[in-house]
Symmetry: D5
């Protein structure tokens, strides 16, 4: 099932650049692994902001929380979650 997630990153200004780089590299690797596994179905940058809009395809809230809370940038993100479902006007039979 699908969850719409908007993440805004707020890194502390006094974080050493090396630590920030390492966090971002691990975040990117984990994100791409989840994308390839089909769990992180969409990932878009919001133009002009250090933020993204994502759609996750998971087995439920428990898996969603497990994935999000393990992201390296999780302690530094404001996260808003909305549960999605197929729209009655969609031209697709499934939730694409």
């Amino acid at each position: 099932m699908l969850f719409h997630v908007q993440m805004t990153v707020r890194l502390p200004h006094d974080m050493p650049p090396a630590k920030a780089d390492e966090l971002k590299a691990r975040e990117k690797a984990m994100s791409q692994e989840l994308q390839r596994a089909g769990r992180w179905r969409h990932l878009w940058r919001i133009a002009g902001r250090y933020a993204n809009v994502s759609v996750f395809d998971v087995s439920g809230p428990a898996e969603l929380h497990e994935l999000l809370s393990q992201l390296p940038l999780f302690p530094y993100m404001d996260i808003e979650v909305q549960a999605l479902c197929r729209h009655a006007s969609s031209v697709h039979e499934d939730d694409r």
Copy 2:
């Protein structure tokens, strides 16, 4: 290019049901036409609310406004727009 659009519908409580049904039928037809044409790339229902999350693929803000302002429910919707672009961590070369 992509725009993230969240629409919340607020029909006046005194709208005659027949008018509401007619507006919704025309909205659905136009929505499906735009989906088939590839302009309205994603359409999801937000669970528990008379609202949707959509992603449009258009040539720019002018086309986006033209499409949205012609929707039959446009006068009754609160609409929030965010411009999207490819995320540097996306596993896709394009903006999927």
Copy 3:
């Protein structure tokens, strides 16, 4: 799986009392049916407000939306949804 739902009812002041009573009676009947079926697990009044806090136990966002959107008072409610999961500090093995 569990969803936390807060509903605030805003009936139009010019709704005829008979219609309001009929809506509320049907809302109560459907609510109790869903409670008995185990779908509407908790239902509490928020003291001092025409509003409730509820916990639904459903198969996913699609079923949640189906249940909520069929409530007789749905067109007159502001609804906020939060997906819940078991807390790591819970003394229960399940999501009670």
Copy 4:
């Protein structure tokens, strides 16, 4: 009587991990003690956030404040309280 409590934890980013771990361990122990005593009736994680939704069963606002203010994470939490009561549509005679 019941109080609905939503807690959002905001640990300072410069808190030493050992101190954070110790605070969390003590928070968990006290939470489980209160759950077993029937004071902290429900405890759920909000998916995707370092936050929980809880229902407390206490003798009144004074006991609620005493319990919450003694939690090890209290200084680092945003807490919202809503007083609950039995809903007239509940299928239970009590406030379950």
Copy 5:
């Protein structure tokens, strides 16, 4: 126990003056009855607004809701409730 209640009245502009007067007269009578009974301990006007700040002394959220929801102006008020308790710096032994 004490609850702090802020009520803001929003009468529809098209309510007939006679109905408004009748509602206000009944509201005043019920308010004074509750004040004399010691349930509505304090009642102050907020200067410049059709609103009041009140302190109720009741047996719990259930009684608070029963009292507030029976007020004639209840359908026309925005109500905010905060549970109060004795402050550790109070010079009184009780919750005055």
Copy 6:
């Protein structure tokens, strides 16, 4: 005349405990002195939060500001002020 004041305390997390204790002790002493003098007429804790609701009885805004700005915790508090007056439905002749 009366002013309704809501104070929320936000101590910096890195304040040395000894300094915090000293500030709180001086705050308590000054608060009790003002209560005994009849200037700080009511003082209640808001359950679950490091915050209070107070009613001051002073000669005007100037005295109110003088009292509040001299509180030891003043630099660490968010303060909201509302001017109160006797409510026309009060059963008291004065502003109790």
Copy 7:
């Protein structure tokens, strides 16, 4: 003593123009009477909005409420009140 008052007028769109004109004429007359009496010390239009910023010089919250609640447009205004006092950096001995 001084109170800073910001008033925003929201006339119902279906108010007959004659009634609106009559209300505005009475509002203007009462406003000018209060200005001449020194109670309504300042009155400025906020550019681009049907709103004003005012400073009242009254004997206290009770008189302020009496003046504001008698204004013909009172039922149609959002009003925000802030108590003012002399600023320590003012070059005037009084509260000008």
Copy 8:
């Protein structure tokens, strides 16, 4: 022409007292110089808060910005600006 300016001061808690005192002294001196020159026409303290309401009389937005941005406390203030003009109901011919 007139601009209504509300300034809220938020000094960092770790600013050395000597620096804070020096900033405040320079702020006061510049404020009084501008008051005497007629540019800073009104200056009032908001009771209970480290904030003021001011009215500036300047030649336009450029001069307003020049004055405000040179204030010693400018980097520590939240500033809200509203352009004012003579109100049609004012008893004065000018913008007093």
Copy 9:
């Protein structure tokens, strides 16, 4: 001098279409007249909303208010005004 104005139009849903059309036609005519006169320097549509972003070049707040309050849609618009000035990093000598 320049003022940044954002206007959001909220026509009542029960306004007769003929009246709405007439208001819009007059609004357009007046807008174009002001654009040609150089007073309404910029006018852009915000994509997806019945709203615009405008920049006015006027002699001060008084003229700005006079222009805006005479617009036929003024009673139906939420208007936010910000005073602008030349930016120190602008490549232009004037405020273009």
Copy 10:
């Protein structure tokens, strides 16, 4: 195509002045380069605030994000983006 961008700068109070000066100098240089290239079409200071209103003319959200995220002050700015298009009432054929 055009995007309306409002940037509010929030430099940490403990940033060394030399670093702040260097960031601002590089920001100014990059801003002027983009203005001369026609990408940063308008740049205005908001009077009284460390903030600006800008209009960018870019090929789409991707270029907009690339430009904004490379600004030296980007990590210290709150940025709000609105997509613009030609207004039907504009006297210009293009989006000026």
